[in-house]
């Protein structure tokens, strides 16, 4: 485990690499003054942040600080919650996500999501991965679909384990395999951004390590935003980190800076374990 962790820290926490890399990257998502109310209760207070392209950004903070709420704003999953009201702007490149004329279905084809508890559909492994491309009309023939399914499973590092049982139900896989299936399912639609809400919190350490390695490979082609309650994971996996507390964005910046030289006391307290 330490070996794996060591390998992770080497790539992300190298200050010179990260500072230069972050400065060069263009911004994919911009959020300005985002507020969220659940009924009368306010959950987010004016969050503004830029998410860089082709990098992993992690949101950290104690329970109930609003990081998952903010994540769900990005692909408008808060729309499905009764009584949720979102204010402010979020833009994907130059597209206003909350534009009333925007089709939410199209948005979710460009921004995929992986949830905390692996939730494959109660269908076969093949059907799980093929569902997205099918409904968005991305495959013109069965051969096309087969190709998409295989490449997505390969990218998720699952193909060799399941290639002989593509017709078996997805729910029959182990927890780690199911989560990789959910990642493959998200990738199959060819999104630009992948949102991950605590993807490893329901998994054992070995499965967690496999998924972290997968995230590291994926960031070459996708913009990834990950919510995590493990600071070690954030340090291992992300290039940019944002610290949330009680619905406010306290601090954000390069991962190495946040963890070695935080500017706010609250960030320092959280990282050293005094709060949260």
């Amino acid at each position: 485990m330490d070996v794996v962790a060591g390998k992770m820290t080497q790539t992300s926490a190298d200050p010179s690499v990260n500072a230069a890399a972050m400065a060069d990257r263009r911004v994919r998502l911009t959020a300005r003054e985002v507020t969220v109310h659940y009924g009368a209760k306010q959950a987010l207070f004016g969050v503004s942040i830029d998410i860089p392209d082709r990098a992993v950004t992690s949101f950290i903070g104690p329970s109930g600080c609003g990081k998952s709420t903010f994540l769900r704003c990005i692909n408008r999953m808060n729309d499905t919650i009764e009584g949720a009201k979102v204010g402010g702007t979020i833009k994907l490149d130059d597209l206003d996500i909350y534009d009333p004329h925007l089709d939410v279905v199209e948005l979710r084809a460009r921004i995929g999501m992986v949830f905390q508890k692996p939730n494959p559909f109660p269908k076969s492994i093949y059907e799980n991965v093929a569902y997205g491309p099918k409904i968005h009309g991305l495959a013109r023939s069965k051969a096309d679909l087969d190709l998409i399914v295989e490449s997505s499973l390969r990218k998720a590092g699952l193909f060799n384990e399941v290639k002989d049982r593509l017709n078996e139900p997805g729910t029959g896989l182990s927890g780690g395999q199911q989560q990789r299936l959910c990642i493959a399912r998200a990738i199959a639609v060819g999104p630009e951004v992948i949102l991950m809400d605590e993807p490893c919190s329901a998994l054992d350490p070995i499965a967690t390590a496999i998924i972290e390695e997968l995230i590291d490979e994926l960031r070459e082609n996708y913009t990834i935003v990950i919510v995590t309650h493990s600071m070690q994971q954030a340090a291992r996996v992300s290039q940019k980190t944002a610290f949330f507390h009680l619905g406010k964005l306290i601090e954000e910046g390069n991962t190495s800076d946040i963890f070695t030289n935080p500017m706010h006391k609250q960030t320092q307290d959280y990282i050293t374990g005094r709060i949260g």
């Binding site: 499905t80 949830f115 939730n119 494959p120 997205g132």
Partner: protein
Amino acid sequence: MTDMLSTSQAAIDRTKLVRSGLKRRHMSEAVFKALGLTAIILALGFVALLFVDIVRKGAPAFTQSNMHLSVIYDPTIINVEPAPVRAEGQSDADFRADSLVWQRKVALLNWNKVIEASLRAAAPAGNEIESRALLTIVETDARHVVREAFVENPSLLGQTVKVDLLASANADNWIKGNIDRSLGDAQQQLSAPARALIDTFVENGIISTGFAWSIFTNVDSRAAPASAGLLGAFVGTLWMMLIVIVLAVPIGVAAAVYLEEFAPKSKFTDFIEVNINNLAAVPSIVFGLLGAAVFINYLHLPISAPIVGGLVLTLMTLPTIIIATRGALLGVSPSLRQAALGMGASRTQMVFHHVLPVTFPSILTATILGVAHALGETAPLLLIGMKAFVAQVPATPLHQATALPVQIYLWQGNENRNFFEPRTAAAIMVLLGVMIMLNGVAIYLRSRLERRA
């Protein structure tokens, strides 16, 4: 030191306290278990009693008395020219007209005399019995059976063939002992010579008992009660079941899906939900009134037709299916919905591709149970006119028909109590059998679907 002693003393005291209450607690648990067991035994006992009583009463009705009579096709009685033969170049219509003319002439002959002559020949020598009394032994449809055999095969003329006929209802009662043999002539339905002759026939083997296929293959009959069967009622019930399944399931499921998934939560939808729950408790006869007023009076659908019965039963089954579907939809985990929406599925796609398939076992079970329940409803059917005597099999849902529970009700009212009480019990057994089979299908399908999912 004292602290340790006092704490261990306190522990001993506490244990004593707990122990003293234990006996009472175990007692009340034992009493509760005994009460529960008694309740189950009572309930099962009553059900067993009901079943045993019905089976005991109905089992004899599943055998019928058949007469194997050597019928003499006497040319002196059957005085008719030979059947028409199709001439060269004669058209279909002409030949059919000729055949019908001949058949009518055949029908006008006195076939009862043929039966009577055959019976006399079969009776032991020296038997003096009146013609009318003789004919009470065999069922009144015997003349139709014998005549139709002749029409099928006109070469029977002059021959003697063995034909299977039904013994009359009263003869059947006498043979099975459904009527007390010690009763005097005034209380018996058959005259003394007839009864003696029947006994002789039974000894000779001319009358024997066999399985009562007529219950399943014949329609109802008042003129020939021994041949009364359930076929018409069965087909009527099947038509109605079909209509209920075809109408109630799509409408009910769609309504539940709309109310649960798409309708905005408001006072109006709450109002609808309360009303649907209440509809499930409305007495079924009210639906019959509704059916009579709307379907028959206003829409002018035919009275006593399975379509009207089916529509009324659909209205009755809808609340059950809607409530069951809503319950099943509520039971689907939110993570499945989130996964589908996160993939970019529209709301409709999420419901129809992911949520509904998971609820299929529950919907199926509710459908079959709802249909089985509707099968046994009599009150609404009586009000839409299905209380009439119908002696035909409905060819379409628009033809006059009757239903199994109504048939039971009609048979229960027949004057020939000795014959029809066992028959009614047999009909009840058939109805119960259909319901048990439906429930069995529901259980099997549900377990199959749940295992696959």
